[in-house]
Structure formats: C-alpha cells, structure tokens
Amino acid sequence: MEVAVKPESAAIRKHRPGFWQAGVLLSALLLALPVIVVFSFVFVPAGEVWRHLVDTVLADYLSNSLLLVVGVAIGVLLLGIPTAWVTTVYEFPGRRLFEWALLLPLAIPAYIIAYTYTGLLDFSGPVQMLLRSVFGWTAGEYAFPEVRSLGGAVLMLSLVLYPYVYMMSRASFLSQSLSMLEAGRVLGAGPWRVFFKLTLPLARPAVVTGVSLALMETLADYGTVQYFGIATFTTGIFRTWFGLNDSAAAAQLAALLMSFVFVLILLEQHSRRRLRFFQTSGRYRHLQRHRLYGYRKWSVVLLCLLPLTFGFLIPAGQLLVWALSIAEETLDQRFFLLVGHTLMLAVTAALITLTLALFLGYGRRLFPSRRVNFAVRLSAMGYAIPGTVIAVGVMLPFAWLDNRIDDAMREFFGLSTGLMFSGTLFILLFAYAVRFLAVSVQSVESGLARVTPNMDDAARSLGYSPGRVLMKVHLPIMRGALFSALLLVFVDVLKELPATLILRPFNFNTLAVRAYELASDERLADSSVAALTIVAVGVIPVILLSRAVSRSGVRDATPT
C-alpha cells in the first residue's frame, strides 16, 4: 500500500552533525556559483538597452519561450505516458523491443534532429521534391507545413525529450503495487478509471520530474531554435550579449529566465509539499500483463511505433545515409581520438556528478531545513541554463581565482602558476557538474524516496551512523536509481556542446564539437559521421538504462 507520511521523523532530526550540513551548504553554494555570477549582474545599469528590448523584441522572447514550453510539455506527456502505460500493463507483439527502443531518441541531440528533418522536409528536400514531381505542383500551389517554425521546434524537442517522461513514469508504474490496482478493479472501476484515478495520481511525482527535466532542457536549448529562426529567451540572451555587445543586459535576461524556472520549481514543490509517497507494502506481486488482440493489439503497436520512428529511426536513418557517402574520408586516427576524448569526459563527468548528487540529496534528506533545501535547489538549476551562460559563469570566477593565485605566487615566490583551474579539464568537468546536477539529483531523490523513513529509524536505532545507513541500507536499495543517474549524465555529456566548445583545453575535441563545426558550416553530410557516432555510443547506455528500469520493478518484489 502507498501511504502518505510526514517527511521528517524523530530519529532523523535528532542527529545533526554540523560538518555534514556545512559541507552540503558549501558544495551546493560552489555549484551555484555560475547562477550567482549571473545574478550579480542584476544591479549593473543597462537602462537604454532594456528600453530597446522592451520596445522591440522582449514580447516575442517571452511569448515564444512560453509557447515552446507549453507545447513541449503537452508533447512529452502525450508521447511519454501512454507508451509507458501500455508497455507496463499490456502484452503485444514487440513489447520487449519497445521497452528499450522507446528510450532511443534520448541519444539524439536536439539540434541534430532539427538539421535532419530540415534536410528531409524543407522546400528543397526530397519529400517536397517528390510531391512536386508526382503531382506536378509548383511553388505556392500547395500548402506544406513548415518545419522551421515554432510548431516544428515543439515537435523536434518533444521527439527527443519524451523519453524522460516515458522512463520516469514507467519506473513508477512498475513499482506500483498490483494489489492496489486489483482493489480498484474489485471496487468496480474500469481500466480507464483505475488509470486516471489511481495510477496516474500516484505516478505524479515521477511524471512531474520527467516533464521538468524535459522543460528545463527546452529552455536551455539554443541550437534548434536558432536554426529555426525562432526568437526565444535563449537566443535573445546571445543576441543581446554578442550582437548588442551588452553583457550586463544579457546576464539580466538570463537572470530573468532563471527566476522563472526557480518559481516553477518552488510552485511544483509547494503543490506536493504535504504528501510524500513511500511504498510500504511487502506483498508485491509481479504484474501479469494483459494480452491484447485484434485491432487493439495493432493500435498499441502503432502507438509505440510512432515516437520510435519519428524520434529515432528516421533521423538516424538520414544520418546513416549521409555518413555512408563520406565514411571513408572521415574514419581516420584523429576520429578515434575524438571518440576516446568524448568517452573519457562523459564517464568522468557522470561519476563526479553522481557523487555530488548523492552527497547533496542525502544531505537534504538528513537535514530538510529550509536553508539546505534552497541551496540544493539553487545548485540544481543549471539544467535550465544555456550551456554558454554556464560556461561563462564558471569561467569568470575561476579565471579570477587563477589570476589572484598567480599574482600572489609571483609576489612571494617569483613564480607564475598560470591558469591552474580555468586552463585545464577541471573547469570543463566542473561546468558539466553544474549543468547536469539536476539530472543526477532527480534520480538520486527518486531513489531515496524508495527508502522509507522507517528504515532509517530502524537502522539508526540499531546504532548505525548516517554514513553507515547510507552504505548499508540506502545504496543497495537505490542501486537502480544511481545507475540511471550515471547513464543519463553520460548521455547528456556525450551530446553537450556549448560549454565544451568554450572551456576545452588546447588540441582537445569531442564528437559533439566535431559534428557542430561541420553542421554550422552548413555541411550537414560531412557532420553526419560524428553525429551518428554520438547516437551509436549513446544507444548502449540507453539500452542499459531501460534494463535498469525494467528490473527496478522486479527488485521491489524481493522483500527487504
């Protein structure tokens, strides 16, 4: 049974070692550094430029960003929840394949899917060419939906971001106890009623987590909207910063965007403040899938095939066609070095981010004070901030620190230490941690939610220290969630572009940098090998991820 309990329990509150709390606050603050740097510009006067923005483009930025967010929210819900539901409770042809394949679009960077669909559906692309030659139409004689529009951007982003919702809600559906669904049925509710009255409300925290990850990434997206010519907050920040050459006004725009995100996060937390869901039933039984027949069977197959086809098969296929035409020239030693660099970065960043998230998430559970709560939320905001803004927010303080250390060393020892932090991979890994902490924290917290406070109490009353409770009780239960956190950050770093582009050291490239350099030079075909490799490398962890999610339901079955 699911029960609602108050989040805090006596045993947790009793023990408050100062160093842990201070450590959590300190590291959260450090990770919030870029956010703080951006907000520090709020007081720099930029009146004239603001007046210009308000007079001309600000309304566009606001309305486009808002429409984009609303559109993507609807898109990811429509694509993510039904697929998660049918693969959990029904048996139909290809179900086992769809279970993991529905996650595949996660491996495709949003700007890459935008480029491929433009290539396909553009006025001069093969689809419209074919239509024109078959029906003898000429320009202007027929209406064809424009890919490079707001609607197109919503579609592109929904197609690659719905897996977050799919994954989170599926994990939640799997972990819901069968006995409750049966109770619902016995009480006379039909399957739809059970779904809307029981399953969905119980899955709400998971669904909200998935949607908020998707929306944060939407707000941070630059590549897609820029290519589609849509003026959003993100493109506006860059236009103000570089075009109008006003970094203060740009930072203020970014601060506005962040405040918006922060308010959303707080609202969401507030709305479910009173309830926390913990699974307490030990009598879990493995779900018996309902076999479908006839037209219902095929409509469910179609339902799953749709996002898979448009979110993965078509764009990956287009990349493959391009890649085959140029593979020979591209696959040299330099290319394998790129792959090596990318993998090394992604693995290291995933491990670092997970460690931090674990520390913060656990700290928040131990000391659910307002201060800690706020600090952790603040540090996890990086996911909604465009990578370039984070990169600069990281670069400014560390370069400053480097230069101060260097000054001091020159003065006292006559030695120059140069750029110890900002000139090395350290700063890049730090930026990744800031950018992707939210992903890890969400996974870690959803894992922590599986551990009931009673378990903490029991372990603590048996004399375990908080650290030992973590090692002996929490980690084994949370293994699946931690694994998900690792894989998600791995895939995200694989795709990450803007921070990598700015912060990487000399002679160091990644696959995303390579793909972008060629694609931004409008050589889509030439960029396809690197892009396809990102996808191919990303597919492996995505498959592992799906198996982790599937198994998570089973693991619950074993009584602890």
């Binding site: 060393m409 110890m420 000399f506």
Partner: protein, 340 residues
C-alpha cells in the same frame, strides 16, 4: 606541518605549470575558423618551421570572452576570427596588441587591416546577391538599396538578423549612408521577404532554386561549396542561380574578412607573428580560394578557376573597423525593422 606541505605542493605545481608554458617552440591559437578550414594550413606551417601550434576552435564571441577573463595569464598568442567586427571588439576590449612588419604591410591592403596593426585580414568574404536565372534578369538588379524597392515584394530570401554577416552588412550601410536611411532600408527589405528568415546561407540559395523566392543574399563560399558538393540536390540548386555583384556603380559589393590579432599578453610573440606572416604569403592566400572559395586579401595572388568564372568585381573599400563600430546600432535597427 600541514602548511609546509601545502606550500611545497603549490610550488611543485607552480614549477610544473611554468615549465610547460616555457617549453619548446610553439604558438597557441584561439580560432573562430573551424578546424577543417585552418588545420591543413597550420600543419603546413609546422612542417616548414618546426613550430608546434596548439589550437582551440570556437565561436568568436566566446573565445573573446575567454581571452578577456583569462587576462594576462591567457595562454593564447593569436586570435583568429571570421569577421572584422569581432576583431574590432577584441581591440576595444584591450586584449590585442599592435604589430607591424614589412611582410604584413606588404601582404594586406590598408582597407583590410586595422590602421595601427591591431589586426590583419587573412581572406576576403563577399556577400553578393544571387538570382534565379530563369526568373530574374541581371538588368533588374542594381544595389543592396534596391532590395527595399516594392518591385521585390515577396521575392527575397535572407537569413536571420542574428547572423553576423547580416549585422555587418547593415553596419556597412550605416557607415555609408547613416542610421536613418539604413533603418528605412531594413524596413523595406523586411516587407519584401518571401518568408520569415530561417536557416543558413545555403538554405537561402536552396529556397531560391526551389522556387520559394527569386533572389537570395549569401556569402560566395557557401555557393562555391554547393557547386562542388557531393550532394546532387545541392549541386543542382546552385546551378540554377547566378551571382550578381551589387553596387558596382558606387561603393562596391560588401565584403568582410577573416583575420588575425596578436594578443596583448602573447608569450610566443615572435612565433605568432611568423604565423601571421605565413598566412598572408601568396601560397597560403591561394589556399583559401581553392579550399573554401574565399578571395585572397593580397593583391596579385592568382584566383582559382571557379572564382575567375564568377568574375572580377569592385568591393567596398570601407575600412572594416567600421563594421565593429556600428554593429550594435545595426542590431537595434534590425530589431526595430522586425527583421527576425
């Protein structure tokens, strides 16, 4: 004890750090030119001189930001960008230094370098008009100004105003004919657009070839890339349009440069200057034309066959520092004109 070991660790780090900086003959380069379009030339330089080149590529604005925040400890010796506006901005930010040498002064004509030597152009990039041969006669075309004429209503494709090449084009118009006229022009142009701006330069040419508009504005090297593309559809699209060089009877066609600036705190100053000189040598200059269909800045360098086919043209000889000076004004004008 702990303090002592901390100090000695710091010292070891410091010594290591400083020795790596002082090691061997090298040049550290921040380049907004993509690796594909600069590395071969750099490799040739390394082969000839034995000087190693360390490269970071990226967006010009971001590299400039990095240079600024790194201050005097920046490892970069040389900054390369693909437009003059950013070079001007780097100079204004105080991260460049003046350099003069006979080789540079001989190689780069006055319009394409900063008067005091803070930056030098390396290659020329022209932004003419492309017209669909079946639909438009070149006699109908005359100048950029003419693109605001109502006769072109619904017939023009141009990319978004977020793009630096459009910002530079408008900045050049402000430099020539003032803010007010430029704003009227931008408003007129926006009225004539066949579609809301989207995509890159190649996309504009493709749209024109596919019948969505009759004329497009784009940089020539994209057109060159399309003509020599492996992709048959791109090749065919390019074949349907031809270049028109605007403003031949007055100031000339708008051009921009890719260029290089020596950084203020360059540690490998001499080698960096050697690299700059190498990049304006005739052999390097003709490389740009062959590989990326750009024009050499240096007079008297042979053009590739393709560039010769496109014909000689008169280019705007406005000093390109002006493009940087008027850039933010240009962006504001385009915002007000509703140029997306």
């Amino acid at each position: 004890m702990a303090f002592k070991s901390a100090v000695s660790t710091a010292l070891v780090v410091a010594v290591l750090a400083s020795t790596t900086v002082l090691a061997s003959e090298e040049v550290n380069l921040y380049s907004a030119r993509k690796e594909e379009l600069i590395k071969p030339l750099l490799d040739r330089f390394s082969d000839q001189t034995g000087i190693t080149i360390n490269l970071v590529t990226g967006d010009a604005d971001a590299l400039l930001q990095r240079l600024q925040s790194e201050g005097r400890n920046s490892p970069a010796d040389l900054l390369i960008t693909t437009d003059a506006g950013r070079l001007h901005r780097a100079m204004e930010a105080g991260v460049t230094q003046a350099v003069t040498s006979d080789a540079l002064l001989q190689g780069v004509p006055a319009a394409y370098r900063e008067p005091n030597g803070h930056w030098y152009g390396l290659s020329l990039r022209a932004r003419p008009i492309f017209y669909v041969k079946e639909k438009v006669s070149p006699t109908e075309l005359s100048s950029y100004e003419d693109l605001a004429d109502p006769k072109w209503a619904g017939r023009i494709c141009i990319r978004s105003s977020g793009n630096i090449y459009n910002q530079s084009l408008v900045a050049s118009m402000i430099a020539h004919s003032g803010e007010q006229k430029s704003e009227q022009w931008a408003a007129g142009l926006v009225k004539n657009l066949a579609r809301s701006p989207k995509g890159g330069d190649r996309d504009q040419i493709k749209a024109a070839a596919a019948g969505e508009c009759d004329i497009a504005v784009a940089n020539t090297y994209y057109y060159g890339g399309m003509l020599n593309s492996n992709d048959e559809a791109e090749h065919q699209a390019a074949a349907k349009v031809a270049i028109f060089w605007p403003n031949q009877s007055d100031r000339g066609t708008h051009v921009n440069v890719s260029g290089a600036a020596l950084t203020a705190h360059a540690r490998n100053r001499d080698n960096a200057v050697k690299l700059m000189e190498f990049l304006v040598q005739p052999e390097s200059q003709s490389w740009y034309a062959e590989v990326n269909y750009e024009y050499p800045v240096r007079d008297g360098v042979a053009w590739s066959d393709l560039l010769q086919q496109w014909g000689r043209f008169k280019s705007d000889n406005l000093n390109l520092s002006q493009l940087g000076k008027y850039n933010s004004q240009a962006v504001m004008i385009m915002d007000r004109a509703g140029w997306k």
